[in-house]
């Protein structure tokens, strides 16, 4: 049996199965990050969320939703890119973007897991939350969408997608003996790349993509509804909330994808696979979404300042000129700068990888900043009764937990890379054979 042979055969592509000192060091660092997070969370779990900077709205002068919820929104947003790119590649048959498809799928799966973890980090009764959501979840609650569609449906759909898309590469890798052969065989699950199988896969993934795209819009919209349906907090009640979430999700997701692709291109020396065309496509896509989002910001700014009700106007002042102004304007500046960078390249039809990555990083900074500005001011300053304005200062515990969550995500990605090629191995039409 192949599995019994001492594997000294040819190496697997893209460093799969090869443990290098650099990789080990990264894993060690990430593990340390996860441990920090675990420790911080253990503290929070035993002492209660009094160790966070969150407090009750109103008389306690705080924000009951803080960084955790801001990052729930951020992570779910990031997941957008993966599945969107993968689905769009399929539906529109965009061959150019095929190389980043798996990366996107993986990003989707991992960021959804991180989103779910952020929710668990946030709720006061995490174990009870899992059971009670399955047992009692109410469709009327905007959280129903987040908890069921996003975390379950969307996550499961992404997994199915990842699995089906990967079968072909798994089958290729499964030919190479080694410690991972069993896994690749399992993943391949009998895939032999017959024309019939290929055709079937094409059809399945096309329909899957078609099914996922509306799910995607729905999922991100419901997340927007979590805020946008609330008339009781100044600043949240807005029709723009849902589309804004969808677009900003796309912006941050694409940004992440670009950064990840650039890192992989460098780390895996995969210039051939991840050629400039890929980045050009992603950059243009990002540019379009960024411009749409800037337009939303403009509309929002006008609405909240022109003739807004007193409470909204007060809140707008806090965001635009008050204590949240630094975060808000940094975010806006980052978006504008990114849009300018991308547009410059688009206009000259010349793309610099470095500049695209800079833009991608900028939009992610903006995405985090904008989520903070969305979640917090309405809580600290959005009271419609004469409460004294509140404050929110995240604590080390919250930063620690988030560090842990981020590290876990990166760790999952790093580990995945060593068991399965993150880039497509066989060209689309290459022969797998047997």
């Amino acid at each position: 049996m192949a599995a019994h042979r001492i594997a000294r055969a040819q190496p697997l592509p893209f460093g799969v199965g090869r443990i290098t000192p650099g990789w080990s060091m990264i894993v060690a660092i990430l593990l340390a990050g996860v441990l920090v997070g675990a420790f911080a969370y253990a503290l929070q779990y035993t002492e209660g969320e009094v160790v966070t900077g969150m407090r009750d709205i109103g008389t306690m002068g705080g924000a009951p939703w803080g960084l955790y919820i801001a990052f729930v929104v951020y992570f779910v947003g990031v997941s957008f890119a993966g599945i969107a790119v993968a689905a769009i590649v399929r539906v529109l048959d965009l061959e150019r973007l095929r190389p980043v498809a798996r990366m996107g799928e993986l990003l989707a799966v991992i960021s959804l897991v991180l989103g779910a973890l952020s929710i668990l980090a946030d709720v006061g009764q995490p174990l009870r939350a899992i059971v009670n959501l399955l047992r009692y979840a109410r469709p009327q609650s905007p959280f129903f969408g987040t908890f069921t569609l996003v975390i379950s449906g969307y996550l499961f759909a992404s997994l199915v997608y990842l699995f089906l898309e990967g079968r072909r590469d798994a089958a290729i890798l499964a030919r190479t003996p080694g410690r991972l052969q069993w896994l690749h065989r399992l993943w391949a699950s009998g895939y032999r790349d017959t024309p019939a199988e290929r055709e079937r896969h094409e059809r399945a993934s096309y329909w899957l993509a078609l099914a996922i795209l509306p799910l995607l819009v729905t999922a991100h919209s419901t997340l927007g509804f979590v805020f946008g349906l609330q008339a009781g907090r100044g600043g949240w009640f807005s029709t723009l909330q849902a589309p804004g979430f969808v677009v900003l999700a796309g912006v941050s997701g694409l940004g992440n994808l670009i950064v990840l692709a650039a890192i992989l291109r460098w780390a895996l020396r995969a210039k051939q696979v991840l050629d400039d065309t890929v980045f050009r496509w992603l950059a243009n896509f990002l540019l379009a979404l960024t411009i749409v989002y800037l337009y939303f910001l403009l509309v929002d700014w006008l609405t909240s300042t022109y003739a807004a009700p007193a409470a909204d106007a007060r809140l707008a002042a806090v965001v635009y000129t008050g204590e949240y102004a630094p975060v808000f304007w940094t975010s806006v500046a980052a978006l504008v700068a990114a849009a300018a960078l991308l547009f410059g390249q688009f206009a000259r039809r010349r793309y610099s990888l470095a500049l695209v990555v800079v833009a991608a990083v900028l939009v992610n900074v903006a995405a985090v900043g904008k989520r903070v500005v969305l979640v917090l001011p309405s809580q600290t300053h959005g009271a419609l009764l004469p409460y004294v304005p509140g404050t929110y200062e995240p604590t080390l515990v919250e930063y620690g937990v988030l560090l842990g969550i981020f590290s876990l995500g990166a760790l999952l990605l790093t580990l995945f890379m060593k068991v399965f090629p993150i880039l497509e191995v066989g060209g689309h039409h290459a022969e797998v054979g047997s």
Partner: protein
């Protein structure tokens, strides 16, 4: 059918905050959780200044945003008008808290026994109370209430759940008035069946011009205010309580 509600007479309220303390003792709420809160605010500039007071219990809305958003049905509306929280079901997501425009929800940020006003486990205190936490622990709060037989009474029940004013369900079901109403030195708070035109609450409501807080949000509060005046955007809170956990 009985539909409970509260009528608050702002012409009578002296802003003394006795209701806040009565609530805390009756419901054993932890430090900083002010189910009942009394705003004291002023308007205008010297010398044309007005000072006003406004108690703020939970509004027990008929169209309660908190009930709508609760992902697990821990917050629910009872047929008798009370908006209740099943602390055995709450997952502590605090969605009710951000959805509520009145700021009446309080999360137990830490183990309630560790954030009570007196430590019943203190050896000195325990020697006279048998270790009850708080030492004035109200035994009525542990029973299930309502036709639903769910645990909805009292505060400080569990870490990591949200609690709020219950209209003192444990008292109301025993035929008594909520603690704040009983304690109010000037009878500014009136509680009763608003469906019954003869109830004290209905009569007080009929006696004067009334308003409800943030009525424009469509929450349809079951707490009505008579007399006085509602706060405006110009109202500045004075003597605000900013309690720390």
């Amino acid at each position: 059918m009985t539909r409970y509600g509260m009528v608050i007479d702002l012409d009578r309220c002296t802003g003394c905050r006795a209701c806040m303390v009565a609530c805390k003792v009756e419901n054993n709420t932890p430090v900083a959780n002010l189910w009942m809160y009394v705003f004291r605010f002023e308007e205008g500039t010297y010398p044309d200044v007005r000072v006003n007071f406004m108690p703020r219990p939970c509004m027990h809305c008929d169209n309660a945003p908190c009930v709508k958003v609760c992902p697990v049905g821990a917050r629910f509306k009872r047929a008798d008008g009370l908006v209740a929280t099943d602390y055995e079901r709450c997952i502590g997501c605090r969605y009710c808290e951000v959805a509520c425009p009145y700021g009446v929800n309080f999360f137990n940020w830490k183990e309630p026994a560790k954030s009570q006003y007196l430590d019943g486990k203190d050896a000195t205190v325990a020697s006279v109370t048998g270790g009850a936490v708080p030492p004035y622990d109200n035994p009525d709060l542990d029973a299930p209430y309502g036709t639903e037989r769910r645990r909805i009474a009292g505060g400080g029940q569990l870490k990591g759940v949200v609690e709020k004013c219950t209209f003192c369900v444990q008292r109301v079901e025993a035929g008594r008035l909520p603690a704040c109403v009983t304690s109010c030195p000037v009878q500014a708070l009136v509680f009763g069946d608003l469906d019954d035109p003869k109830s004290a609450a209905s009569q007080r409501l009929e006696s004067k011009r009334s308003f409800r807080l943030l009525e424009e949000l469509g929450t349809r509060p079951r707490v009505h205010y008579v007399g006085g005046r509602p706060p405006t955007a110009e109202s500045r809170q004075i003597e605000a309580v900013r309690a720390k956990v």
